[in-house]
Structure formats: structure tokens, C-alpha cells
């Protein structure tokens, strides 16, 4: 009698473990599968959307390459998406339907808002955020996105310079030129750094380029583009430069005066802060607002940080922070 009871209980426990609604192994496995399917579909939509905007239209073959699946799997995926009315196959490749575009833009919005958050609030390096955002973008809900957007102050561009779609799904395209196509000697403003592949982006970031910078191409050789930013020359291999997009600048490149150029005892007036997000809020809270007069007071015993006097308070900043503050010098006589 007893062995039977034990057997029965064991079977019941095993059954519960497997089939319990929501937390049972079977249901968990099903949920994981569903998530994986959604991730794949959303990534496919992103790819087709990107190809619609630039380059030849996406095909099942390109999709297979992008997602790392076999062409047969990609074909199955495409026919599944066609059935749900998300994409249409045309003679030249895949096109998104109205619903498909809306879904794609939702994922892109999630991706770019997350990137903004990672850079502004967590201060992650630019070349690392793409991979993080790629993982997180599928799990975040619409409400969380809206809250995140409000918290970030409705940013319009991601940290690479790509526009962020609105919650209604609008995306304003921008007319840009690749830096490799840009004529030598004409002033330009960097609007976008391509985030894939991350190795190239790391090279661009290491060369000191960032969205919003004013630049001019000085010389071009087969190995390097020499770029001038008003202060110094920076070299970038053409393969990386093709991932930098620029727009024309209506005036010549202006070298910014930075707070770091002040010597102890000298003063300046803040023109603008180049940083965003958390560090920007911090500086503003301390009274370092555009228009404020700031005086270099004294350096620390190891030369860094440096204490600055602003609005009667003494505030120590590291070189990185001081570099993000643009000023105009004021002489003692003008005060």
C-alpha cells in the first residue's frame, strides 16, 4: 500500500513540476520559446526597416545572414510575417506593411531610448551600449517606454545621432553625407555615428569624434582622413570615416574655449554645457548655468581635480567635467 502511495505522490509532484500553469517547466519553456520567437521577429522587422531606409531592400537571404539562421528558417519566418500582414514580398525584396512599420518603429524607439538612458544616466561608453540595448529592447513594455521617455526629457536623438521615433511612430529622416564623401575644407557638423560594427565605433570614439562636433576635413590619403575640430587634428581610417555622417555647417569651425584653459585666478563666463543627462543636471544644480561667471580658484596637490568658484561656492571638478564646459574668457578689466 505504502509504495503505491509514494509512487502516486511522486508522480503528482512530477506532474505539478511539469504542468503547473505559468510556473511549470512546460509553460516556462513555452514562454521562453514565445519570447525567442518575438525577439527574432522584431529583429527581422528592424532589419527590413533599415534596408528600406538605406541600401537595397532586405531579402530572406540577407535576413538569414543578419539573424544568423539558415535561409530556410528565414523563409519560414518571412512567410509567417506575411501571414500576419507585417511584410510584403515584392520583386526587389521585402517591404513593411503599415502594421509592420509601426511595430518596427516601436522596437527602434525602445532601442534608442535605452541607448540614451545607458549613456546619459549610467554613463556607459558609447561603443558598449548597442549590445545592451539589443538585449533589453524586446522585454520593455509600452508604459515603461513612455515613462522612460518622460524621465529622459523627451530626447530626440539617440547617442549616435539617430532620431528617436515618437510614441505615435513618426520618424523624421535626415539628409546626411558620409564623411568619406565630404569635400576637403568645408565646415561640417557630425550628426551620426553608425553603431555597427562596435569595433569601428570604438575606433571613431577613440579618435575623439562625437555627435554635435564641428569639424573640417584637412587632408585625405588612402590610409587616413585628417580631421580638424578647431583645436587639434585627429586621424581616422577611411573605413571608419564612412560610418560618420555629417551635415553642412553654415559658418567656419569655431574652436571652443573650455573651462580647462583657465589658469588659477582667471575667470570666464559659461556659454554651454556639452554633456547630457545626469552629469548635466549635476552641473546645473551646482549653479554652473549658461551665463554664470566662473573663476579658477586652485588646483589640488596632484594637479587634479581643480577647484572653481562659481556664484560664491567652491566646486571641485575633474578634467573631464571641466572639458565639457564651454566658456568665453573675461578679463579683469571688463568686470
Amino acid at each position: 500500500m505504502l509504495p503505491l502511495l509514494v509512487l502516486f505522490l511522486a508522480l503528482a509532484a512530477l506532474g505539478a513540476l511539469l504542468f503547473w500553469p505559468r510556473s511549470g517547466l512546460l509553460d516556462r519553456w513555452r514562454q521562453a520559446r514565445q519570447l525567442a520567437d518575438r525577439v527574432q521577429m522584431e529583429d527581422a522587422l528592424k532589419h527590413i526597416h533599415a534596408r528600406e531606409a538605406r541600401g537595397p531592400l532586405g531579402t530572406p537571404e540577407s535576413l538569414a545572414g543578419k539573424l544568423g539562421v539558415t535561409v530556410k528558417q528565414a523563409l519560414d519566418l518571412v512567410s509567417g510575417m506575411e501571414e500576419s500582414g507585417l511584410v510584403q514580398s515584392t520583386g526587389r525584396g521585402l517591404r513593411l506593411s503599415q502594421t509592420g512599420r509601426k511595430l518596427a518603429l516601436r522596437v527602434i524607439r525602445a532601442h534608442r531610448l535605452l541607448e540614451r538612458y545607458l549613456v546619459d544616466e549610467l554613463r556607459m561608453p558609447l561603443e558598449e551600449i548597442h549590445a545592451h540595448a539589443d538585449r533589453r529592447e524586446h522585454a520593455i513594455t509600452e508604459e515603461e517606454l513612455d515613462a522612460l521617455e518622460a524621465r529622459l526629457g523627451y530626447p530626440q536623438e539617440d547617442p549616435h545621432g539617430d532620431p528617436i521615433p515618437t510614441s505615435a511612430g513618426a520618424l523624421e529622416p535626415q539628409e546626411t553625407t558620409a564623411l568619406t564623401e565630404w569635400p576637403v575644407g568645408r565646415p561640417a557638423r557630425i550628426v551620426h555615428l553608425e553603431d555597427e560594427p562596435p569595433e569601428t565605433l570604438a575606433k571613431i570614439v577613440a579618435a575623439g569624434l562625437a555627435p554635435g562636433m564641428q569639424i573640417e576635413v584637412r587632408r585625405v590619403s588612402s590610409q587616413n582622413l585628417v580631421i580638424w575640430d578647431g583645436e587639434e587634428e585627429r586621424a581616422l581610417p577611411p573605413v571608419a570615416a564612412s560610418n560618420v555622417s555629417v551635415v553642412p555647417l553654415p559658418h567656419p569651425v569655431e574652436a571652443p574655449t573650455r573651462l580647462t584653459s583657465l589658469r588659477p585666478g582667471e575667470s570666464g563666463r559659461v556659454i554651454k554645457l556639452r554633456c547630457a543627462g545626469f552629469s548635466r543636471r549635476r552641473l546645473l544644480d551646482l549653479g554652473i548655468t549658461p551665463g554664470a561667471v566662473i573663476e579658477c580658484a586652485f588646483p589640488g596637490p596632484l594637479e587634479e581635480p581643480i577647484a572653481y568658484r562659481v556664484r560664491g561656492a567652491l566646486i571641485a571638478l575633474r578634467r573631464e567635467q571641466a572639458n565639457e564646459i564651454e566658456i568665453e574668457a573675461i578679463t579683469a578689466a571688463a568686470e
Binding site: 549610467l122 554613463r123 526629457g153 530626440q156 554645457l273 548655468t289 549658461p290 589640488g300 587634479e304 567635467q321
Partner: protein, 465 residues
């Protein structure tokens, strides 16, 4: 005159979207700017100030306290002075309290005996739990009551932010935050308080580094051990007039080793599990102020001393009971203390200590201050925690009978400095990080470092000598 526009919710949302797009991210800036503009206008109307003829007092002080030549020597001297005051000043009150508490114990134990209570009840309650409490209070209260107010004076003067300012360059090089210097200073009082103080660091990565490395500054509970060792093994080599200075100097040396490990571990962390660049750093250097004595006494006595003491009492009572039980339960002719320390002895010897010291550190996980009394108790084979009346007797016991050498002292100092944080600190880490993973790292990493360092030191010393 109302204009007739179709105002469906969709239209309104669309309009809002357009307006937001037009604002160019700057509305937050504008809010802050206008607040500051208002404040400035009010200040200009209401405050009149003349241009001072020369540099102000603050400027002169800053020039010295943060100068390339004097900045660091003044910091070290200040630290040494605080330790010296604490060591010298705490000595007598500590002894008086201990005397008082042990009188009470004897009286109470006698009372229990005359009422016919069984010996184990008297022993457990009075020689175990009560004596654990008494030891912790008498050892901890006087140093804390001196250390915390002295420290709060520096804080009130406005000197501590200057320490952070001076040290920031080092912390930047290891990928940490300059305010970590402030949280470390708090750690001298109590690591749990130091971990809580890490809230002042506003970027999460650097805050976590500060929390995980706070243990490397020795807290008040560990100072008695360090001071005892410094007195027996360092000060003994100096003439009596200089002894207290030599002891304070040795403690400063240990603290500097702790600072070195803080920087080293921060460096490793910010290149491994907590990868990232040093993030934004802003530090306000407030004007120097005359310390407000009433406020200092209040904050340092109520908020810090009593808080830390209370939690030590909560931890020490059960630990005292445990020690009594371990020493009074015999299995096969030897007490449990004997068995466990015998078992731990090979491990202890390998890192320059012995089994008794390791056992003491296991028992002292709740409160580091009971390490030394536990060691003495186990050595003497006595059934309860003891304090020897004079350091000479202690020296005779440790050096003469138990064969402690300079290596034992150095290893014990290093182990005391580097080993795992006490259970309160671990619990505080958990509350501050909300993560079991980081808490486990914060507890086990120092322990591993302590073993590795002590092992290396012991083996090197034995190979060389």
C-alpha cells in the same frame, strides 16, 4: 472668440508632440537657469559686499591644506593625532568601566550561587552573556566617545571635503570616486556606517566600488587589536615617553596599507566585474566653519556612538554565550574550543597565525571587538573571556608561553585589517545594494585576500629568516 478646431485626443497628442520636438531638450536647462537668475537678482538687491583687500581666511587655509607640499603631510599628521588622542584618552575610562562591570559580575554571580542556582546557569548568564557585553562596552565605548566627536569636529570644520579633494586624483586613477575618501573616513568609526555613507556617491558603479572596499579601513572594533599589537610588539621597542607615539605611528602604517588595498581592489574591480570609466565628479568645498560643540556632541554621541554601540551589544551577547558554551562543553576530555582550534591549527600556521586565532575570528564574526578576549580565553583554557590586567602579563602570555613572534603580530595585524567584514556590515551591504551577489562578493573577497596576503607574508618571512 473661440476658434473652432477639431480637438480630438489624437490631435491634442499630435500637437503636444510637435511642441515637444520644438523645445530641443532645453526646457530643463531653462527652468534651472531661470531659478538661478531669480536668485541672483534677489541676492544682488539684498546683499551688499565689498571686495576684500587681500585673500580671505578661507583662501589662506585652502592654500595650505591643499598645497602640493603640505596637503598630504597634514592629512597624515591629522590622522595620527586622532589615533593618538583616542589611544591615550581611552585607556583610563576603559579600565574604570571594566573594573566596574566585573565587580557587578562577581556580585551577581555570588548572588546566584547563594540563591542555589545551578552552576551552568550562573556561568552561561553571567560569565558568558554578561561578560561578553561588559567587555564590548568597556572596550568600545571610550574610544568611540573620543574618536567620533574628534572626527565630527574635522567634519564640521569643513576639512573632510578637502581630504576628498586631495585624494581624488588617486581615486580617479583607479576608476573610483573621490568621495570614497569620505566614506572611508566614516569606516574608521564603523564599516557599517561607512557603507551607509556611500550614499553620497551618486554614480552607481563608483558607489558599489566604495561599498565593496570599505572593509579595508579598520573600524573601531578592530582598533583595540591593532593598538594592542602595536603596543606589545612596536611600542615595547621604544622608550616609554615615545611609546604612545610609536603605537599611533604603527596604527597609521596599518591604515596606509589599508588605503593601498582599497585603491588596489578598486582598480581591479573597475577593470573586471565593475568595468567602466570614472564618471562625473563634482565636489562642493564648503566654507570653513567654527565647529558647533553642542551639535557635535549630539550627532557624534547619539547618532554614531550609541547607534554603533547598540548594535555591538546585540551581537556581543549571543557571542559571549557561544564562547562560554564552547569552552565548557567537553567531548572526550577536551573542550570544544580545544577541538576546533586543534582542527584549524594547520591552516592557521600556514598563514602565520594559529588555530586559536582563527577560531576567535569565527566566533567574532558578529563583532570584531571580542577577538582578543577570545584568544586569551582559549590560551588560558579558562571557561570565560578574560582581560589580563596589564600589558606586561599579556606579553608574557603571548610571547613567553604561546610563542608569538613578530611574524605572528604582523600576520594578525594584516588579517585583522583585510579579513571579512562583521555580520552587521554584511547585512548593511545587503540592504544598501539589494543584491545577494554583491554582498557575497563584499564578504568573501576580503577573506580570500586576507588569506592570500597572510600566506604570502608568512611563507616569505619563513623562507628568508
Amino acid at each position: 472668440m473661440a476658434t473652432r478646431t477639431a480637438t480630438t485626443p489624437d490631435r491634442i497628442l499630435e500637437r503636444a508632440e510637435q511642441l515637444r520636438r520644438g523645445r530641443d531638450l532645453a526646457f530643463r536647462d531653462q527652468i534651472v537657469e531661470s531659478i538661478y537668475a531669480d536668485a541672483q537678482a534677489i541676492a544682488e538687491r539684498a546683499v551688499r559686499r565689498g571686495k576684500p583687500a587681500g585673500p580671505t581666511w578661507d583662501e589662506r587655509l585652502d592654500r595650505v591644506l591643499t598645497s602640493r607640499l603640505w596637503g598630504f603631510p597634514i592629512m597624515l599628521l591629522g590622522l595620527a593625532a586622532i589615533f593618538w588622542i583616542t589611544i591615550v584618552g581611552a585607556n583610563y575610562p576603559s579600565r574604570a568601566l571594566a573594573f566596574l562591570f566585573f565587580e557587578v559580575e562577581e556580585f551577581a554571580a555570588g548572588l546566584f550561587a547563594s540563591l542555589g542556582a545551578p552552576w551552568w546557569l550562573t556561568g552561561f548568564v553571567w560569565h558568558g552573556v554578561y561578560r561578553g557585553l561588559a567587555w564590548v562596552v568597556s572596550v568600545m565605548l571610550p574610544p568611540m566617545a573620543i574618536f567620533f566627536p574628534t572626527f565630527t569636529i574635522l567634519e564640521n570644520l569643513g576639512y573632510l571635503p578637502r581630504v576628498a579633494f586631495n585624494m581624488d586624483w588617486l581615486f580617479k586613477k583607479v576608476g573610483a570616486h573621490g568621495k570614497q575618501a569620505l566614506t572611508m573616513s566614516m569606516g574608521f568609526g564603523c564599516n557599517a556606517a561607512g557603507v551607509i555613507a556611500c550614499r553620497v556617491i551618486d554614480s552607481p558603479r563608483e558607489r558599489l566600488i566604495a561599498i565593496l572596499t570599505n572593509n579595508f579601513v579598520p573600524c573601531n572594533g578592530r582598533f583595540p587589536t591593532l593598538i594592542m599589537l602595536a603596543t606589545i610588539f612596536v611600542a615595547a621597542a621604544f622608550p616609554p615617553a615615545l611609546a604612545s607615539f610609536a603605537a599611533a605611528g604603527a596604527v597609521v602604517g596599518v591604515v596606509l596599507i589599508g588605503v593601498f588595498f582599497t585603491l588596489l581592489v578598486s582598480w581591479v574591480l573597475s577593470r573586471s566585474v565593475l568595468k567602466g570609466e570614472a564618471s562625473s565628479f563634482t565636489l562642493e568645498l564648503p566654507p570653513y566653519r567654527r565647529p558647533n560643540i553642542g551639535q557635535i556632541l549630539y550627532t557624534s554621541i547619539i547618532d554614531r556612538t550609541l547607534f554603533v554601540l547598540w548594535r555591538a551589544i546585540l551581537m556581543a551577547a549571543p557571542a559571549g554565550g557561544a564562547i562560554w558554551l564552547l569552552s565548557n562543553i567537553s567531548v572526550g576530555g577536551d573542550s570544544l574550543t580545544g577541538w576546533v582550534s586543534g582542527f584549524l591549527d594547520p591552516l592557521g600556521r600556514a598563514i602565520g597565525l594559529d588555530g586559536v586565532i582563527l577560531l576567535a575570528y569565527i566566533i567574532a564574526i558578529p563583532a570584531n571587538e571580542i577577538v582578543v578576549p577570545t584568544i586569551i580565553m582559549a590560551y588560558l583554557g579558562a571557561g570565560m573571556m578574560l582581560e589580563l590586567d596589564s600589558l606586561t602579563e599579556l606579553q608574557a602570555l603571548l610571547v613567553g608561553q604561546q610563542g608569538w613572534t613578530l611574524l605572528t603580530a604582523v600576520s594578525l595585524m594584516l588579517f585583522s585589517l583585510l579579513h571579512n567584514p562583521c555580520s552587521t556590515t554584511i547585512w548593511t551591504m545587503y540592504k544598501e545594494t539589494g543584491s545577494k551577489k554583491w554582498t557575497a562578493l563584499g564578504a568573501l573577497m576580503p577573506l580570500a585576500i586576507a588569506f592570500v596576503v597572510c600566506f604570502a607574508v608568512a611563507q616569505t618571512a619563513r623562507a628568508v629568516l
